[in-house]
Every structure is written in structure tokens, then in C-alpha cells.
């Protein structure tokens, strides 16, 4: 047993941030030590998720870790198949960038002794929810994620942080209740909560009222988590009021948890009912793209604009999952990865601009013209805008092109026309923001502060945007392989259950 196929590797990206967070809480007197410790912990965890991805790519063999040695349907399973590993790598990349941004941030809230531990617990919750193979354990990790992100927003410098946190708290609790209701319904009908075991049992007998209720409850929970169109109303407030490093995480990787859940629902747990779920996802995704695009044009705050833009971009991912062909699923996975990187970079740049404005605010009234003295930020913002709008040579081009190609291949022309029109909104609102901040003459009362948040994290992320746009082939192949694994659910089931069926 070498290092690369050791099952304990699966647990490391979950437990390293948890352990680092606990040590950080214990050393709350030493704030610089805490920050560097968090960076080291996240970097180590990122390295582990890299190793995890490369050790399972090309093997057709997911890595499974059974907690405490209890065999599959009885114990807690942590499983890394390609989908989980790709999403974990995406989250960890963005989270490391978030820690780097927080270390260079001028906000008061990043100097609170609980900031970094909470950030690491957010990482634990997110990674754990992506790696777990058990629905109840998924609920526990989602709760950890929800509580830590709520507290991180409540301590924001923004005076309305508590209000936004209060709103989100109720919504996330409702989502958690929906997951618990689904857990009850599934346990009554099948007597198990292990996802692989459930998949086998649901395919044997999926009739009756309780399984359909479970589908409805899980669907509602994931809709709230990913801020899909009719359940999106909390999202712009919450993402605007959060501190910049946190809102960059929330708006990029945390909303992807819902997309991940939808992929698992349609390809693993409820394969027989996948068609219904996919139809709903397509309709809601297209509605979200149109609504998010139009709302983003009408906003008066750059962070709020980017939050509405997330609503639209998540719509593209849902449409990719909804069309359900191999190519569109590949496109959805690539879209999720690329959007996380672009959106977190854009939010960090927005936060940088806000920190250089005369009053710390991201409102267009305040930041208009502030960027005239910030050429580097302007250049990065321009590249990020091109990525959001899907213009080469950025990686945004690759994923939009693949979505359109998959739509043409499967013949969804009405949907294509709608999302084609709506994706031009992206260009309109990003260019509007660029012109206002970096082009227009500022008012006389507005000046640019000499110092603000450091730009290391957005520079790294924008470099990644360009690299993934210019050398996209290996990643497209990886995503294609991921979809091959997803289409054969037996790979996942065999890895967890072995021969005990």
C-alpha cells in the first residue's frame, strides 16, 4: 500500500482544516501565528486534494475511507470519486486564495481571534459535504458550513451584516430541515442512509409516496443551497454584506454544493426519476440566467452585481446538468470549476476597489472613478470580466462554448436562443461596472486612498483563469473522464459496497 492509494488520504482534506481550526482557536492570543497557521493548514490540505485527484484519475477505482473500520452500510463512509475530487480541488484552491486575501485585508473583522478558525471550519464543512457518502453525515457537514458562514457574515464590518446573517440563517435552517425530512423519508422506505446502498435499493423498488417526497425535499434543500431561481432572494443580500474574503468563498464555491447535490441526485441516488429532475433543472436554470442577468444590470453596488451574476452563472451549470448528455455534464463540471475561480477573483478585486475608496463601500456612488489610479486592478478586472462574459483567451470561453455545443448536439434550440440572449447581459453589466469604476471621472469629493487590501490572491486566480483558458485540454479530458464515471453508477456502488449486495 503506497501513499497514493491509502484510504486515509480521503479523510485528510476534511480533517486538516478541522485540526488547524481547533489549534487556531487555542492560540487566539497570537493573531499573526493564527493567520500563518491557517495558511499552512489550507496549503497542506490543498496538496492532499491534489494528490487525491491524481491518485484516482485514470484508475476507475474511487478511494473509500470507512470511519472506524465499520463496513459500508453501517459505518460512515468518506468516498472520493472523480466528481468529489474535482469539486474538492476547486474548493481548496479558492479557499487558499481566500486565506491569502484575508491576510492582506485591511478589514477590522479579519483581526478578530475567531475569524481564521471559522474560515477553516467553513472549509471543513464544505470539503466534508463533498466527500461524504452518507446523507445524514452530509447534513452534519452542511450545518457546520451554514453556521460558520453565518457567523462570518454577522461579524462583518458592514453594519447590515447581522441583518443579512439573520436572513440567511433562517433560509439555511429551512434547507437543513428539508434534508432531515428527506433523511426520515428515505430511512422509513429503505432502511439505510448510505448513498451507494440507497442507489441499489431505490432502483429495486422506487414506487410509493415516501421516495417521491424524499426527492422533493432533497430538491428543495439543494435549491436553497445553490440559490436557484425562485429561492435566490437571500443570496444577493448575504453575499453583499459578508466580508470580502468570505463573500468570495460564498459566491463561488459554497453555491456549488447545490449543483454537486443535483449531480449526485440525477446520476446516483434517483437514476429512475432523473428525467423529471433534469426537466425542472433546465427550466429553473434558464429562468435564473435571464432573471440574474437582468437584475445584475440594474444594481447599484458592485458586490451585489456580482452576486446576481452568480445566480445567472449557476443557471448555466443547472442547464448543463438538466440537458443530461455526456457533453453537457462535462460542460457543467468545467463551468463550475472555472466560474469559482473567476467569481472569487472578481469579488476580491471588487473588495480591493472598495478598500481603496474614500468611504469603505462597494456602492457605485462611492467607487465611481476610484479605479482611475489603479491600473493593475483595472487590468485584472478587465480580464475577469472577459472570463465572466466568455471571451477568449480566458477559461470562461471554454465552458460557455461547451454548453452551447452540447445544446446544439442535443437539439435544445429554444433553450439555446434564450441563454444565448441572456449571456450577452453578462457583457453589458461587467462592462458597465468596468467603465464606471476604471474609466469615468470621479466626483470632487471622491479620492483614492493610498493603501488597501493586497492583490496577491486575485493576481494568482486571474493567472489561473488565463492558464486554464490557454491550456484547457487536460482539464477537459479530466472532466470527460469524470462524466464517464458518473454515467456508470456501478463504479461508485462497487467501491463502497464491495461484494456485499
Amino acid at each position: 500500500m503506497t501513499l497514493f492509494s491509502n484510504p486515509h488520504l480521503v479523510a485528510l482534506p476534511v480533517f486538516i482544516p478541522l485540526l488547524t481550526g481547533v489549534i487556531g482557536l487555542l492560540s487566539y492570543h497570537f493573531s499573526r501565528f493564527q493567520a500563518w497557521l491557517s495558511l499552512m493548514g489550507m496549503a497542506l490540505s490543498l496538496a492532499c486534494s491534489f494528490i487525491l485527484l491524481f491518485s484516482i484519475a485514470g484508475t476507475e477505482q474511487p478511494l473509500v475511507f470507512q470511519a472506524g473500520g465499520w463496513i459500508a452500510p453501517f459505518g460512515i463512509t468518506l468516498i472520493a470519486d472523480l466528481l468529489s475530487s474535482v469539486f474538492v480541488l476547486m474548493s481548496q484552491l479558492v479557499l487558499v486564495a481566500g486565506v491569502i486575501y484575508a491576510m492582506g485585508s485591511k478589514d477590522a473583522c479579519v483581526s478578530y481571534p475567531t475569524f481564521y478558525p471559522l474560515f477553516l471550519f467553513l472549509a471543513t464543512g464544505l470539503t466534508g459535504a463533498l466527500l461524504t457518502g452518507d446523507i445524514f453525515n452530509f447534513f452534519v457537514f452542511v450545518e457546520l458550513l451554514a453556521i460558520s458562514s453565518t457567523v462570518l457574515t454577522a461579524i462583518s464590518d458592514d453594519p447590515y451584516g447581522v441583518e443579512a446573517a439573520y436572513k440567511y440563517f433562517y433560509m439555511s435552517q429551512l434547507a437543513a430541515f428539508f434534508i432531515l425530512l428527506a433523511v426520515g423519508a428515505l430511512y422509513v422506505s429503505f432502511g439505510t442512509l448510505n448513498m451507494a446502498h440507497l442507489s441499489v435499493l431505490v432502483q429495486q423498488s422506487a414506487s410509493g409516496m415516501m421516495p417521491s417526497l424524499a426527492i422533493a425535499f432533497l430538491f428543495a434543500a439543494f435549491m436553497i443551497k445553490s440559490a436557484t431561481f425562485p429561492f435566490h432572494f437571500w443570496q444577493p443580500d448575504f453575499h453583499t454584506a459578508a466580508p470580502t474574503p468570505v463573500s468570495a468563498m460564498l459566491s463561488s464555491v459554497v453555491v456549488k454544493l447545490g449543483a454537486y447535490g443535483f449531480i449526485r441526485m440525477t446520476t446516483l441516488i434517483f437514476i429512475d426519476n432523473a428525467e423529471l429532475i433534469q426537466t425542472l433543472l433546465t427550466v429553473l436554470g434558464i429562468a435564473g440566467i435571464c432573471y440574474g442577468g437582468i437584475s445584475a444590470i440594474g444594481t447599484h453596488n458592485i458586490k451585489r452585481m456580482l452576486a446576481y451574476s452568480t445566480l445567472a452563472q449557476v443557471g448555466f451549470i443547472l442547464v448543463g446538468i438538466g440537458w443530461g448528455t455526456a457533453l453537457s455534464m462535462t460542460a457543467a463540471i468545467i463551468f463550475a470549476f472555472n466560474h469559482s475561480i473567476i467569481k472569487s477573483a472578481m469579488l476580491m478585486l471588487a473588495g480591493h476597489v472598495a478598500s481603496r475608496a474614500s468611504i469603505k463601500s462597494a456602492s457605485f456612488d462611492i467607487v465611481t472613478g476610484v479605479g482611475r489610479k489603479l491600473p493593475l486592478t483595472g487590468f485584472l478586472f478587465f480580464l475577469g470580466s472577459m472570463g465572466l462574459a466568455g471571451i477568449p483567451p480566458t477559461n470562461g470561453f471554454i465552458n460557455k462554448m461547451m454548453i452551447f455545443k452540447s445544446g446544439i448536439q442535443s437539439g435544445h434550440f429554444y433553450g439555446l436562443i434564450l441563454i444565448g440572449l441572456a449571456s450577452t447581459f453578462t457583457l453589458i453589466y461587467t462592462m458597465r461596472a468596468f467603465m464606471l469604476i476604471f474609466w469615468q471621472e470621479p466626483k470632487e469629493t471622491i479620492y483614492t486612498k493610498p493603501k488597501g487590501d493586497l492583490l496577491f490572491a486575485p493576481i494568482a486566480l486571474i493567472c489561473l483563469v488565463l492558464v486554464l483558458g490557454l491550456f484547457a485540454d487536460p482539464f477537459i479530458e479530466l472532466a470527460g473522464e469524470t462524466v464517464n464515471w458518473l454515467n456508470d453508477s456501478q463504479i461508485y456502488i462497487k467501491a463502497v459496497m464491495g461484494d456485499r449486495l
Binding site: 440563517f169 430541515f177 425530512l181
Partner: protein, 111 residues
């Protein structure tokens, strides 16, 4: 017994749902707690009527009950304890900062 449990769960759910939609933020926090208790009861009822003796206890005759839902609600109750503490802390800050408990008055974000 099943009927009584069903009615109890339904009643707790409906009261919780009614309270969570009230304008007063304290009442809606109470609604949240009632809902979480209703869901704990619901989870308990998924395994409550199979078997009659406590699981993992020797010397008592009869079929043991399913201990799994009990383990689930134990976890859920611990989490909801944390949630209650946190929501009370938030209510304290909100009532101090806005000097009101009317959720219609908390609209700084819409400006």
C-alpha cells in the same frame, strides 16, 4: 399510539410554521425551535414502533427497537442546541441595534 404521535408531530409542525411566519423576530425564533423539535419527533417516529425493548440492554425479553433514529436525533438535537444559542445571540444584537423586534423594520439592506 401512532395516531397520537402523528397528531403531536402535525400540531408542533403547524404551530412552528405559523410562528416562523410572524413579524416579531422573537416569535419567529420560537417557531424555528418548534420546527426543529417537530422534525426530531418525526425522525424518532421512523423507528419507534418496531420492537418493544431498549436496544443493547441485556436481561429484558422481547425484540429490540431500532437504535438508529435515536442516534440521528441525538446528533440533530445537539446541533439545534447550538442553533438556538446562536439565534438568541443574533436576536440580542438585533434588538439592541435596531431597538425593535418588528422584522419589517429591519430593512437596511434594501436601501
Amino acid at each position: 399510539m401512532e395516531i397520537i404521535t402523528a397528531f403531536a408531530i402535525g400540531l408542533t409542525f403547524s404551530v412552528g410554521l405559523f410562528q416562523i411566519l410572524r413579524r416579531n423576530v422573537i416569535r419567529s425564533a420560537i417557531g424555528l425551535m418548534l420546527l426543529s423539535n417537530a422534525i426530531s419527533l418525526y425522525l424518532l417516529s421512523t423507528g419507534a414502533y418496531i420492537g418493544e425493548k431498549a436496544a443493547y440492554v441485556n436481561q429484558v425479553m422481547g425484540e429490540p427497537v431500532d437504535p438508529f433514529p435515536q442516534a440521528l436525533i441525538l446528533t440533530a438535537i445537539v446541533i439545534s442546541l447550538g442553533l438556538t444559542a446562536f439565534v438568541l445571540a443574533m436576536l440580542y444584537i438585533i434588538s439592541k441595534r435596531y431597538k425593535t423586534c418588528d422584522s419589517d423594520a429591519l430593512k437596511g439592506l434594501t436601501k
